[in-house]
């Protein structure tokens, strides 16, 4: 087991199974079909993301560098949280980007009880170490236990 320390963007304690994207997560491309067509597991629909394409994101510990793509990204994340199809937590190796950051803040301010712990700045080593299926425990102080 290895412990990584990041910055708390949205606090929380949770344990979940990792799914890992080594490239930027395109939020619109990843979530749009799942949200539109009732896929409660939020299967990733981004053809350009070989790490995540076709994999379940809802309820998983989503490990990624940053999000990329359309500026609908934040509201897509907000909708995923409102519909209960968000990842269990989002763990960013880099500082969070403006689109994902917006989605997290919007959910926190405007939604009741849509909890999704978010930690950023975990470092490149975090993404090198974590693998799909590993158990991840996120703690209130921003520490992330992997494996």
């Amino acid at each position: 087991m290895k412990v990584f320390q990041g910055r708390v963007v949205a606090p929380g304690n949770i344990t979940a199974e990792a799914v890992v994207s080594h490239g930027g997560l395109n939020t619109l491309a990843s979530f749009q079909k799942a949200l539109q067509f009732g896929d409660k597991t939020a299967t990733c629909g981004d053809q350009n993301n070989p790490d995540l394409y076709g994999k379940q994101m809802a309820g998983k510990a989503l490990c990624l560098p940053q999000t990329i793509g359309s500026t609908t990204g934040g509201l897509v994340l907000y909708c995923a949280c409102a519909m209960g199809r968000q990842p269990a937590c989002m763990l960013f190796s880099q500082p969070i980007d403006s689109l994902a950051g917006a989605g997290v803040i919007l959910a926190d301010v405007w939604l009741e009880g849509a909890s999704m712990p978010v930690i950023d700045s975990l470092g490149a080593e975090f993404l090198d170490y974590v693998k799909d299926g590993m158990s991840i425990t996120v703690k209130q102080d921003g520490s992330v236990e992997v494996g």
């Binding site: 963007v9 930027g24 395109n26 619109l28 491309a29 749009q32 079909k33 949200l35 539109q36 067509f37 053809q47 350009n48 940053q66 999000t67 990329i68 793509g69 359309s70 500026t71 609908t72 990204g73 934040g74 509201l75 907000y78 909708c79 409102a82 519909m83 969070i96 980007d97 403006s98 689109l99 950051g101 917006a102 989605g103 803040i105 919007l106 926190d108 301010v109 405007w110 939604l111």
Partner: protein
């Protein structure tokens, strides 16, 4: 964050609970990125990325209704991204049913919400709101609260306005608050380049292929591009602006670029030159082989990879008046050479309603219509955002459309060949 008395009062509820939440959203968004203060939004108009009444966006409609019910409005009017539906665009019975009865069943409801919130006019739906014909064109130095990645990167890079890559909803929150947090692309330091891109191609690079290559390489960083003025010139004329519109959209959608500088061409690069480049900037050299590598890397995800194309979309982002005219001439010439009178693949050109209105006053409009090309205000991305399109072989020269949908990318010349001569799969 340091707040002035007005901002503190709003946060404390002086203008009601909903307005307090709007201010809280803007402040927390800024704090996340180290902003030390809020700065006033100075552009005449705002631009929203959300224009589509998708059923899945019900949480967004609920939030908008909270704003309307509380009477919390912006002093700015705004344009919004393109409509997702246009009866002129070809679709079969099943698509029609899914679009109108299932996917976009909230379209009229949402457009009514937008009007209540301050839509510029009933047809202010385009991703290219900065076109002269549309009239939402910020001045250099203006502070914006826009979203829509292609519009933000254009406003920052070509117009010299200042805007972060805001998400949808954040766009209207900043506009209602009248303030946006000062960080990132709003600051002089954040506008400096951390990448130098050297263009060493033997011909003018395809705008959307070059933008894709740079976007995928630099991600959210600011690139300073050298050697492109050799192909585009040193003046922001209509052709250069159209090129940069398409180039920028690809950098923003294939990566997360919010600002680029083109040496000798874009306003800040012309004024400050290489002083815009940060020490230690990395270098990315793009030659013919690199562009070919990027092109070859695109996955083809049609169910039948050898299918004959059934539809072609051009105009993501929306085409300019100059592009509509020049493509009319290219299609006419190519059809004549092929001995055809009309395009052999159903083809849709998309542009802003105001650009289409202007185009229709020119001699080019009937000429383009005679080739069989349909001109529409639709958002091709939203048109293709449904499971039926997985079975529908659509071609495009838009790298943004390729990224978000099953559309297959071809260069402009390849598209021209296919739609006028056919025979190529």
């Amino acid at each position: 964050m340091i707040l002035n008395d007005e901002q503190k009062a709003i946060l404390d509820g002086a203008k009601g609970e909903v307005m307090s939440k709007v201010m809280q959203t803007v402040i927390r968004y800024g704090e996340l990125f180290g902003a030390e203060r809020l700065v006033p939004v100075t552009s005449k108009y705002n631009h929203l990325v959300t224009s589509f009444g998708l059923k899945m966006m019900t949480p967004v409609f609920d939030l908008m209704q909270q704003l309307i019910d509380a009477g919390v409005m912006s002093e700015q009017k705004f344009s919004a991204d393109p409509r997702p539906l246009d009866p002129n665009v070809p679709k079969n019975f099943l698509q029609n049913l899914i679009f109108n009865k299932f996917m976009y069943s909230k379209q009229d409801f949402y457009e009514d919400q937008l009007k209540k919130l301050g839509l510029m006019d009933d047809n202010a739906f385009t991703c290219a709101c900065y076109m002269d014909e549309v009239g939402n064109k910020p001045e250099r130095g203006d502070i914006l609260s826009w979203a829509e990645s292609s519009a933000v990167v254009y406003a920052n890079s070509v117009l010299g306005a200042r805007c972060n890559r805001n998400s949808g909803i954040i766009d209207i929150m900043g506009s209602i608050a009248g303030y946006v947090p000062e960080f990132g692309l709003l600051t002089d330091e954040g506008r400096k380049a951390t990448w130098i891109v050297e263009i060493k191609t033997t011909k003018k690079p395809e705008a959307q292929l070059l933008g894709s290559a740079i976007g995928m390489k630099v991600m959210e960083d600011v690139p300073y591009v050298k050697g492109l003025d050799k192909w585009l010139g040193n003046e922001l004329d209509d052709a250069a602006c159209a090129y940069l519109k398409d180039f920028g959209a690809a950098t923003a959608s294939n990566g997360a670029v919010g600002l680029y500088h083109i040496d000798g061409l874009t306003p800040e690069a012309k004024e400050m030159g290489e002083a815009l480049i940060k020490e230690g900037a990395r270098v990315y050299v793009i030659d013919d082989a690199e562009l070919q590598r990027v092109y070859d890397s695109y996955p083809v995800i049609w169910k039948d990879k050898d299918a004959t194309p059934k539809l072609c979309f051009m105009g993501c982002p929306h085409m300019s008046l100059e592009q509509l005219k020049s493509w009319t001439e290219r299609i006419e010439t190519s059809l004549k050479a092929a001995g055809n009178k009309k395009v052999v693949i159903p083809t849709v050109f998309t542009a802003a309603p105001a650009v289409i209105k202007e185009f229709e006053t020119t001699e080019y409009a009937p000429r383009l219509k005679a080739t069989g090309v349909i001109v529409s205000y639709i958002c091709p991305l939203m048109y293709m955002n449904n499971p039926l399109c997985g079975k529908m072989p659509v071609i495009t020269s838009s790298n943004k459309l390729r990224t978000y949908t099953t559309a297959r990318y071809y260069t402009d010349d390849e598209i021209l060949e296919q739609i006028t001569k056919g025979g190529k799969k």
